[in-house]
């Protein structure tokens, strides 16, 4: 049987959810019999292949225009899109800047920080432009599976993989369902 292709990518997050994927530990070896991780931020190939994957996984919130591009690319190239973690599902910690506004937050971080002298807000054309309001992934592309958690536990992620491999959309039992 052909292996199920999975790609992961990250948006505005802390990489904690990817760490939690690795926390699956030795179970990942068994998983590799059935799936192929085509690309991820920690592999050589960073973005999902053009010919597409079955499952696309996104960590992180939508914080800037670059995040929107990455989210859209993943959506186009996968059949089932998984929002992994609180940031991808709710916006979470990055979205707390909504309480002060993006402009204020940038100023506080790059100009007014006590340790900064003559600070400048970065504005390189290579960087994405911060959006006014940070949101979860579902506010820019359609999401099929949400796995909240900051980060979700390795067990929750493993459960999601096994359910998806069995052809089911996972419904998380209470022990795997959390917001922190």
């Amino acid at each position: 049987m052909a292996k199920v292709k999975i790609a992961t990518d990250w948006l505005g997050g802390c990489a904690g959810c990817h760490m939690s994927v690795l926390d699956i530990d030795e179970r990942i070896i068994g998983l590799l019999d059935a799936v192929e991780f085509t690309s991820s931020p920690v592999t050589d190939l960073k973005h999902p292949p053009k010919d597409g994957v079955t499952v696309g996984i996104l960590e992180g919130a939508i914080c800037n225009t670059r995040n929107i591009e990455v989210a859209k690319m993943m959506r186009e190239r996968c059949q089932i899109l998984v929002a992994l973690g609180n940031c991808a599902t709710f916006g979470n910690i990055p979205a707390m800047r909504n309480l002060v506004g993006t402009g204020e937050a940038l100023k506080r971080a790059y100009v007014e920080t006590e340790s900064v002298v003559d600070g400048l807000i970065p504005a390189s054309p290579e960087l994405g432009i911060p959006v006014e309001r940070v949101t979860g992934v579902d506010k820019v592309v359609k999401v099929d599976v949400f796995i909240p958690g900051c980060p979700p536990s390795a067990d929750a992620i493993y459960f999601a993989f096994t359910e998806l491999l069995a052809g089911r959309i996972p419904e998380f039992p209470p022990e795997y369902f959390k917001y922190d």
Binding site: A83, N86, T89, F90, G91, N92, I93, A95, M96, N98, L99, V100, R133, T135, G136, D138, K139, V143, F146, I147, P148, C150, E171, F172, P174, F177, K178, Y179, D180
Partner: protein, 599 residues
């Protein structure tokens, strides 16, 4: 009681008429989710979490307010109900800041629990992220408006349980916030720091500063016990983690206080800064040195054996357990034949043969006489009940010659020599209640006693366990002067200078049982280190004469022992055999003696 029969989720249920659907369901184990409702508060039906489907009703109804009726058919988890609840949750999560990882309440939050229960795995609506202030001006708590769901539990608790009316709802619509005295910073408001609001808040909007971020419920242990800060004896629940007390909460199930606590009971014990004594000390020459328990106790026994009963004195704090008071009486009064025994503070003589009322009874009364008591400062939870009764329509007659903090709530103020007038007015009432204290005596007492069976009476004792100390004979004019050997059981008491023990003769041999270092322990020939409230076991008797358990919440520091344990060992050293074989036996003996006292 008239019962009605209804069906809930296909089950036949019978419930008292007038009860709500929520109550009827709960009684048979059907769990309807709630948020703004709390069993100790008046339901207001504000949050709509508890919506259920009632056959024949056009719209869903709120179970917390809707009364049951005969033949009613209720569905509590039908698809329509679940859909409505999810919508309510979606809307609650879309307002303010419900980003749990940065919230003090995560893991202890009713809103979060509901999100889990109904599988809210993303937010349908974009979150409104208006920023609200944080009020951290209060000494013990902070109010984080950004986590508030406007359930109004804090406000109702402040009004209905503490009867303090500090909290209210300010602004309008999505700008609404809970506020203190119409927009006064909490720290400078009329708040009396009872913490009722803290205990009621279902979310991270009100948090305890001291224990914030120090452990969620799953990481803490809870032990029920009894507050030892005054003679009300409020039921408490002590939350601990790794042998540290994090927080004290009111026990909702406690008959005495029904969850209420005051500042002294809830917060003060956690701000203790005196130095503990953790090992027995014995004076050799003019220096105290650490000693074993054996050495300290045998030295104490020698001292006590070196003089006759007439030359011994024994004095106790009123914060000793029933068990310790019983043993103190056994050792000193019975065995050593000491008559110079007493307590650090006096007792209110309980009027003989009159019906005793509880604080809860006060809420049903129409006239309250408060004579010679100032519960606002001395027994604060009692004052919450007085003020609540006044809110419910009772008239308060204050009888006191001193300034009294109940004065603003009184409809009549009389001097103690006018007490008969108060009794006459109460005599005309349907259900009068008499609260009296150390401020009245003699004739004034007799004037009140004339009310007889017509009224309920409660004597508020000035000390924690004074009722028991009095019953065991410790209220009989102790004088330190005539004692050659003095046993002072001080416990946690902080003795102010000029106190009766300050007049001890220089030559008196002094054995002190105490928890904290003080001039008295420094002066002592033998110091026996005792547990504090959180470490001890035993029982206390409150002003009503109700015997309540004190349970150990954390392990004792160093080598300290419970007050009764120390006395049990002393008795064994003196007589060669232990006076009792177990705490249970001792508690029973003590309780018999205390509650059989002739009044």
């Amino acid at each position: 009681m008239e019962m009605v029969n209804l069906t809930i989720n296909g089950r036949s249920v019978s419930a008292p008429s007038g009860s709500t659907i929520l109550k009827a369901a709960k009684d048979v184990g059907i769990d309807i989710p709630t948020l703004c409702d709390h069993p100790s508060l008046t339901p207001i039906g504000a949050c709509r979490m508890c919506t259920v489907e009632v056959e024949g009703q056009r719209t869903l109804v709120t179970a917390c307010t809707f009364p049951v009726a005969d033949n009613m058919v209720v569905q509590t988890e039908s698809p329509r109900v679940v859909k409505a609840r999810k919508l309510v949750l979606e809307l609650l999560f879309s307002e303010r800041n419900h980003i749990c990882p940065s919230c003090e309440s995560s893991g202890n939050c009713e809103l979060q629990e509901l999100g889990y229960r109904y599988g809210i795995d993303h937010w349908k609506y974009p979150a409104i992220t208006k920023r609200f202030p944080i009020d951290a001006t209060h000494r013990y708590m902070f109010l984080e408006h950004n986590r508030c769901v406007l359930c109004g539990r804090c406000e109702r608790g402040c009004g209905e349980l503490a009867a303090n009316h500090t909290l209210g709802l300010g602004n309008r619509g999505s700008d609404s916030i809970i506020n203190c005295d119409a927009m006064t910073p909490w720290g400078s408001s009329t708040c009396v720091s009872c913490g009722t609001c803290l205990q009621l808040c279902p979310t991270g909007a009100i948090s305890d500063k001291r224990s914030a971020f120090m452990g969620r419920d799953t990481e803490t242990e809870r032990v029920k016990s009894t507050c030892n800060r005054c003679s009300i004896g409020c039921g408490i629940e002590v939350a601990t983690r790794s042998n540290n007390v994090l927080r004290i909460e009111g026990d909702w199930e406690a008959v005495v206080n029904g969850g209420r606590l005051c500042e002294n009971g809830r917060f003060a014990p956690l701000f203790e800064s005196r130095k503990r004594i953790t090992k027995p000390l014995v004076k050799t020459g003019d220096r105290q040195t650490e000693a074993t328990w054996d050495k300290a106790l045998s030295t104490a026994a020698e001292l006590l054996g070196s003089v006759g009963g007439a030359e011994i004195g024994a004095v106790t704090t009123s914060d000793a357990t029933n068990e310790a008071l019983y043993l103190l009486s056994l050792i000193f009064r019975d065995n050593l034949k000491v008559s110079n025994v007493g307590m650090v503070n006096g007792a209110v003589p309980v009027l003989p043969g009159l019906p005793c009322g509880s604080l809860q009874d006060m809420l049903q009364s129409d006239i309250i006489i408060a004579a010679g008591v100032d519960p606002v400062s001395d027994q604060p939870v009692a004052s919450f009940f007085v003020k609540r009764a006044v809110d419910l329509g009772a008239r308060l007659i204050l009888v006191d010659d001193k300034e009294n903090e109940l004065a603003p709530f009184a409809s009549k103020k009389l001097g103690i020599n006018e007490i008969s007038t108060a009794a006459d007015i109460a005599g005309e009432a349907a259900s009068p209640f008499v609260l009296y204290g150390a401020g009245i005596a003699g004739d004034a007492m007799r004037a009140l006693a004339k009310l007889g069976d017509k009224a309920l009476f409660l004597a508020l004792q000035p000390g924690v366990n004074t009722y028991a100390a009095d019953a065991l004979g410790f209220n009989n004019g102790f004088t330190p002067k005539s004692a050659k050997v003095l046993f002072a059981q001080i416990g946690e008491e902080g003795l102010t200078t000029g106190h009766m023990l300050a007049g001890i003769d220089d030559k008196t041999a002094l054995i002190v049982q105490a928890s904290y270092q003080s001039p008295l322990t420094q002066r002592a020939d033998i110091v026996l280190p005792a547990t504090i409230w959180s470490e001890r076991k035993g029982s206390l008797t409150n002003s009503e004469g109700r015997v309540q358990k004190v349970n150990q919440a954390i392990k004792p520091q160093g080598e300290v022992k419970s007050d009764w344990e120390i006395l049990s060992l002393l008795a064994e050293t003196l007589t060669g055999k232990p006076p009792v074989t177990s705490l249970e036996e001792l508690s029973t003996l003590a309780q018999q003696k205390i509650t059989n006292k002739e009044i």
